[in-house]
């Protein structure tokens, strides 16, 4: 299988510039500086690269939306606020191959002729900072970043910014507000960032994984990139596997790879004496797939959409038969209720209300129509919020309740659940005969590739 992002990540010295350069790092950067920016955009557009942050928007088209103005050069923001539950691929990339990300930032910044690029890292990833800082210093010392890069007349500074740890800062306009030093309230669009973004200037926001693809695309050409993956989703995808699976970790697979094969081969199949029950394929913001629904689904934007879910960030959370779904939903809905920024009404009030209802279901004081109420609240949130967080909060609630309705209905008729473990205590909650594991226990197995530090 072609490796694009992880081709050198397994080398322990890949973080060092000399070692990385020996393996070809920054060759694409030299190549790009000899080209016209429009040609770089053309090459990336031809490659068919689609954004890896979740939405899958064509990267080249995003760059072309920019309104160029020599007086007000645009900004490039690299979104490393990887907060989607179940996702740790960007962490893995920044940890193992920071120079690939830096080179990607350089190429994109040159393509849009930005003078400054920002790498926005979520606060929880503080452990990455020394490595990234070192890599950036090395690149600066070599003249790869900074004024008059490699003796050309192009100058670019890369500034690393650390967020304070809010999910909403990963939303592109929330990220800009945060970067401007404000509360990360998403902005109403239009105007779109390509017209008025960070500091009021045209701005491009790209995900870490998206940018990390660029050096390979420049180096090998758009055609080579298109040869990998599917026609609509070229290239590869980094997936973060976690949950009830034998070998959790980060894997690079070509787009169009069968989901079931990923779980069985790379993931090593279910834990001993267990079988798969469900998978959330793209971070908790996308609808869950039952084990039966996984059949025939491939890992690319179209297939996932046809299956009624989304590829999202590629953060895959696997549940096996020992897992009871309602406590999982409790963990997820509390995440969104806590992370809702509180700006617009449906999300602010709705996410908290849904979490409170899931709570009372699990605490043995349900109301008979609570499941319908959950669905009704979801319908009142979806499509009516400023940013995507509201929609994201609805997907798990709706898909869990409708696909595992029996488990939820059991709660309506049974008050013995009142001593169900409370995930919020952060202790090792008791195992109950009826409901299996609590959320925080399912991510306990040792990873094979990388070290997912993620916990619920």
């Amino acid at each position: 299988m072609t490796k694009i992002l992880s081709e050198h990540a397994e080398y322990p010295d890949q973080q060092e510039l000399t070692a990385a350069k020996r393996r070809g790092a920054y060759e694409a950067w030299h190549q790009v500086l000899a080209q016209r920016p429009a040609d770089v955009i053309g090459e990336v557009a031809d490659s068919g690269l689609r954004g890896r942050g979740g939405a899958g928007f064509p990267t080249g088209r995003k760059w072309r939306f920019l309104q160029f103005d020599a007086e007000r050069p645009p900004y490039l923001l690299c979104n490393a606020d990887e907060s989607e539950p179940g996702t740790f691929k960007d962490h893995w990339l920044l940890e193992h191959d920071p120079h690939r990300v830096i080179e990607g930032i350089l190429i994109a910044a040159y393509a849009i002729q930005a003078r400054e690029a920002f790498l926005y890292i979520r606060g929880e990833y503080a452990s990455l900072l020394p490595g990234i800082g070192r890599a950036l210093e090395e690149a600066r010392a070599e003249g790869l970043v900074g004024p008059n890069v490699l003796s050309s007349d192009y100058s670019l500074d890369i500034i690393v910014v650390v967020g304070a740890g809010a999910y909403i800062c990963g939303e592109e306009t929330g990220l800009m507000e945060s970067l401007e030093g404000k509360r990360a309230y998403p902005r109403v669009r239009p105007p779109f960032p390509a017209v008025r973004g960070f500091n009021g200037r045209p701005t491009v926001v790209n995900n870490v994984e998206t940018l990390a693809n660029l050096p390979w695309i420049i180096h090998h050409g758009a055609e080579a990139f298109r040869a990998v993956g599917t026609s609509d989703s070229p290239g590869t995808k980094l997936v973060s596997l976690s949950g009830c699976i034998s070998r959790p970790g980060v894997y690079e697979i070509p787009m169009g790879y069968p989901l079931k094969q990923l779980l069985e081969q790379e993931g090593g199949g279910p834990l001993p004496d267990r079988y798969f029950k469900a998978v959330i394929p793209g971070g908790t913001s996308v609808p869950v797939l039952t084990a039966e629904e996984i059949e025939g689904v491939t890992i690319d934007f179209e297939s996932m959409r046809q299956a009624g879910t989304l590829l999202g960030s590629g953060g895959m959370i696997v549940f096996d038969d020992s897992v009871s779904m309602p406590p999982m939903l409790r963990a997820i809905s509390h995440f969104y209720a806590t992370e809702s920024c509180g700006e617009c009404t449906p999300c602010r009030e709705g996410t908290g209300w849904m979490a409170a209802i899931v709570d009372r279901l699990l605490d043995g004081r349900p109301q008979v129509d609570d499941l319908d109420r959950l669905l009704r609240i979801g319908n009142n949130i979806e499509g009516r919020t400023i940013c995507g967080l509201g929609d994201a909060a609805v997907q798990p609630v709706r898909s869990f309740v409708s696909k595992f309705r029996q488990e939820f209905e059991a709660l309506l008729h049974d008050s013995s659940t009142s001593n169900a473990p409370d995930w919020q205590t952060h202790g090792h909650g008791p195992r109950t005969a009826r409901h299996g594991l609590v959320a925080e226990e399912i991510v306990r197995s040792e990873p094979v590739t990388g070290r997912p530090t993620y916990r619920w």
């Binding site: 700006e343 617009c344 009404t345 009030e349 996410t351």
Partner: protein
Amino acid sequence: MPIVTIDGHPISVEPDTLIIQAADRAGIEIPRFCYHPDLRPEGNCRMCLVHIKGFANLSPACTTPVTDDMVVNTAHQHDQVRQATKGVLEFLLINHPLDCPVCDQAGECSLQDFYLHPDYGLHPSDVDPPEKVRKRKALNLGPIYLDSERCVMCSRCVRFSNEVSGTGELQFVHRGNHVEIEAFEDRALRDPYAGNLADVCPVGALTSRDFRFKRRVWFLRHANSICAGCSTGCNVRIDYAENAIDRVVPRRNPAVNKSWMCDEGRLSYHNLQDLPRLESPLQRTEAGLQPVSWEEAMLLGQEGMRGPYGRVSAVVASAMATNETLWILRQCANSLPTPTEIDFRLQSINPDINAREDHLLRRLDKAPNSRGAMLLGAGAGRGIEAMAQSAEEGKVGVVVILHYPPLVGQDDNARLAAFQRLIRGAAFSVVLTNTVSGWWNGADVVLPVASWSEEEGTFTNFAGITQLTEAALTPPGEARPAWKALRDLLPVGSLSPRLATVEQIFDRGVAVISAFEGLHYATLASREATVYPPEGRKSYGQEGFAGR
């Protein structure tokens, strides 16, 4: 100009008009909390969602500009929109306290109004009160009280303090449904415009300390007025009951004060209420000034003013007076048998009516009608000081003084001292004032006149905009509007035809002067720009006042 169709009504508007503005202009109701015509649109309450043909998702009417041939449907016509609006209103109410019976906003609360609207509300409650999110109540922020539980997080107050007053004292804290408005360390607001925060708040989260628990709003009567606190001439509404003012709130006028007013002006009615009011005409007797009837006082005044004294006369005008009063005062001066000097200034220096006190509304000239007084020729003399000098030299016969203490700030002692010198030196003096005071001891006749809020008339602000102020209260005791008293002092037949109303004085007198040409009292009373939302429409919150 783009033509947008809202609920089937084609509306022609300027490019970049927002859908909500187009709907407002056409009188189509779109519910809203966060939209305010004088604040930057934020689009956070989601109450104004509308359906635009060709768009998959509903769009907020307050942030979407119209384009040509756009077809918009509101909750009145579109089921999906109605469902969304109901859903948003339900969300806003799930954590709202059930304290309307003790909430000051009740009766003028958007949340209450919308809930009682069949298109948006009237749903049964789906939450148990114990599940509600609790927040802080009755937090004292100086001029404003904050009841966080009532807040709908529309951010109008935050935007006001950031964009308008510029103090930036309020912000959001916490996340999700725990979001709250907060002032740093709960310190008292030091914004001289803080009173507007209670006005912009569409619910009872921010209430005015001055008005809190004073009176239920449905007992209030309203009069459209102009603030008399400075030369800006902010459009205000006087809310009163039982012949006393309970509060003064701004009316929207984009040309003058937008939707704002300063706290000094807002609270200036207290200064008026604190004045010891003169309630009866007085006449000089051996035993000092004694009350007399108006008839006696008028006879005495007319007789005294007729002279002859063979000397000059001095008339003191006031920039606190309406244009109509000043015009009559001019006629009065003209009718005196001797050459007459008229002025309202202490010295013959024109008041700097344009001098600003801050970046927003307040001006240093604390009189509402200096510009009008200048235009009407009430500042044609050498100044009051010079007139007092002449009086001391025994050159002045008749003295007529019209004086109102300012509503913001203190009476000027130099001015009062000049008045005393005028009265002492004059052969005959008439004083028209609204306040019991010492300076007019020695005057021959003292006439009690109505104050601001007790008489109608017009003021001309610093920029030359002439605006109408309505009467709210009845003057105390026997006090009457100064223009009536002055008119009756004029010799019979000197005004022809007899001017019986302020409207007649304005149209036949004031408007004849070139600076006022083309103005009619009737159009001033109904000037569209001073009314928001347009007449005949239900108003929202406190930014609109029509129909209440």
